[in-house]
């Protein structure tokens, strides 16, 4: 189409084509949305393992003698708690206490941090960081230097251990290590976006097809399946992990979104700290809650929510959740209406359909 910039392709594009994936536009990228089917891929990740191409994610490095101070200033979680080889979920914050983006912060060394950011926010984040960067540190936009794959599911460790000498058993959640995978230089992090155990593997773009093929070859005999963005979305929603642009954005504060666990007000000043302090003191007008549909119907992003016939909020994410086999979703509701068991209506094609607030996450792994 004239005027439409060409979609970016990951280094695994040819591999997706060979697997007959359905490709869609996502955040300016041409990405696999599904291979064999979203439900099958979702269940493979819960019961065995799935392999995702997440090379569209952005990467920003922050280096310099004051790199830690810079990260502390820009983000809401406490990066001073990280040792080398540890990572944490965090957010770049606006002065209003809302996320510019939700990110993972990796500490390679005291003077070398690395941020993994959402594809849709990649350029916005880099600009924001540069505009708010304190002296003594320098940001570099390195998204083009990395491909990324997510190997997720209860069999992820068994599969990956056949391709690396890294001591995976000793690699705890949110830790990472630099070690070859299938003979290629890589960073292996015990992180993910599915609610399962698993790894996110960073490597050079030109090495990605080899690593992808090696993982599939080792994994397929034990049930590994390639999995697309559709399953990634249903998996993260079942585990109640926020999706930027759906559940959180610059109009929602971290506290409203239930992300208080990455808000460390006692760590010292950071952008948005005062607003979050004020909101904590004054109380929240609304909160993000998890719900299930009581009546038949599937809630979707943007559907209005009403209580007693009055507009009360909106659905931010909703789907059929394949593992728990319920229609579930997330919605912002007035705080007084957020106790588990509270009922409300989701307006589905102008008809009220009953829903109920339930405890989150909808799915929590037991292993």
């Amino acid at each position: 189409m004239p005027g439409t910039p060409a979609l970016k392709r990951t280094p695994l594009h040819a591999a997706h084509m060979a697997l007959d994936a359905r490709l869609v536009e996502f955040a300016g990228w041409e990405m696999p949305v599904q291979y064999r089917g979203v439900i099958e891929e979702h269940l493979a990740v819960r019961k065995c393992a799935g392999l995702f191409d997440v090379s569209h994610m952005g990467e920003i490095s922050i280096r310099g003698p004051r790199a830690l101070d810079a990260v502390q200033r820009l983000t809401s979680n406490d990066a001073a708690r990280l040792a080398d080889g540890q990572a944490q979920y965090s957010a770049l914050t606006t002065p209003k206490g809302s996320p510019v983006d939700d990110i993972i912060v990796y500490r390679f060394a005291a003077d070398r941090f690395f941020l993994c950011v959402n594809a849709a926010n990649d350029d916005k984040d880099f600009t924001w960081i540069q505009e708010h960067m304190p002296a003594g540190a320098k940001a570099e936009h390195v998204s083009d230097q990395y491909a990324q794959m997510a190997l997720q599911g209860p069999r992820a460790q068994v599969i990956l251990s056949a391709l690396t000498d890294a001591p995976l058993t000793a690699l705890s959640s949110f830790s990472f290590t630099e070690a070859p995978v299938a003979g290629r230089k890589a960073v292996i992090a015990r992180t993910g976006y599915t609610g399962e155990d698993g790894f996110e593997i960073y490597c050079a773009p030109h090495d990605a097809p080899h690593v992808w093929e090696a993982l599939l070859e080792k994994g397929q005999p034990v049930g590994l399946q390639p999995a697309g963005l559709a399953a990634r979305d249903t998996l993260r929603l079942e585990a109640c992990m926020a999706l930027y642009g759906n559940d959180i954005d610059e109009t929602t504060t971290l506290l409203e979104a239930g992300l208080g666990f990455i808000v460390k007000l006692e760590k010292g000043d950071f952008i948005g700290r005062q607003a979050l302090l004020d909101q904590k003191r004054e109380g929240l007008g609304r909160k993000l809650v998890g719900f299930e549909m009581v009546e038949r119907g599937v809630a979707r992003h943007g559907y209005p929510v009403s209580i007693g016939g009055e507009r009360a909020g909106q659905v931010t994410s909703g789907t059929y959740a394949p593992y728990v086999r319920k229609n579930v979703g997330l919605a912002y509701l007035p705080s007084r209406a957020t106790a588990p068991g509270s009922e409300f209506d989701v307006m589905i094609r102008a008809k009220p359909v009953r829903a109920r607030v339930i405890r989150t996450p909808f799915y929590k792994r037991t292993r």
Binding site: V38, I39, A230, G297, R300, P322, N327, R349
Partner: protein, 127 residues
């Protein structure tokens, strides 16, 4: 993929006409585009439909889409099995995945629907 005894609409429904009644569902192409179907909302028996009128919705994991009546007529029966087994729309779109039976009000409308070959060229052969 697109049986020759059926007629097709540009909105990806099929109709199997026998005498004055027609059975309606969505095509192989439609179910493939939708992905895994999780919920089908169908009309009440006895409802009268105009050609092109929306009579139901299909929810897949990823999306919702509407179902349009290929013909005018009255709903004679709906496939209540889809309530518990919506996946039949994916597994057997021309069989167990049928949606409604309609008593035709104007059998002349059938001539305006696409034959298999025409529909197949519309959806690019499908595979």
């Amino acid at each position: 993929m697109y049986p020759e005894n059926l007629r097709y609409t540009k909105d990806h429904e099929w109709i199997d006409v026998k005498g004055s009644d027609g059975t309606v569902g969505v095509t192989f192409f439609a179910q493939k585009e939708l992905g895994d179907v999780v919920f089908v909302e169908l009309p009440d028996v006895g409802r009268s439909l105009a050609q092109g009128e929306i009579f139901g919705t299909i929810e897949s994991v990823k999306a919702v889409s509407e179902i349009y009546s290929p013909v005018s007529g009255t709903v004679l029966a709906v496939n209540t099995d889809l309530k518990d087994h919506p996946e039949q729309v994916n597994l057997d779109p021309y069989g167990a995945g049928w949606m409604v039976k309609i008593r035709l009000a104007n059998s002349g409308e059938i001539g305006g629907l696409m034959e298999s070959r025409t529909y197949q060229s519309l959806v690019g052969g499908g595979h």
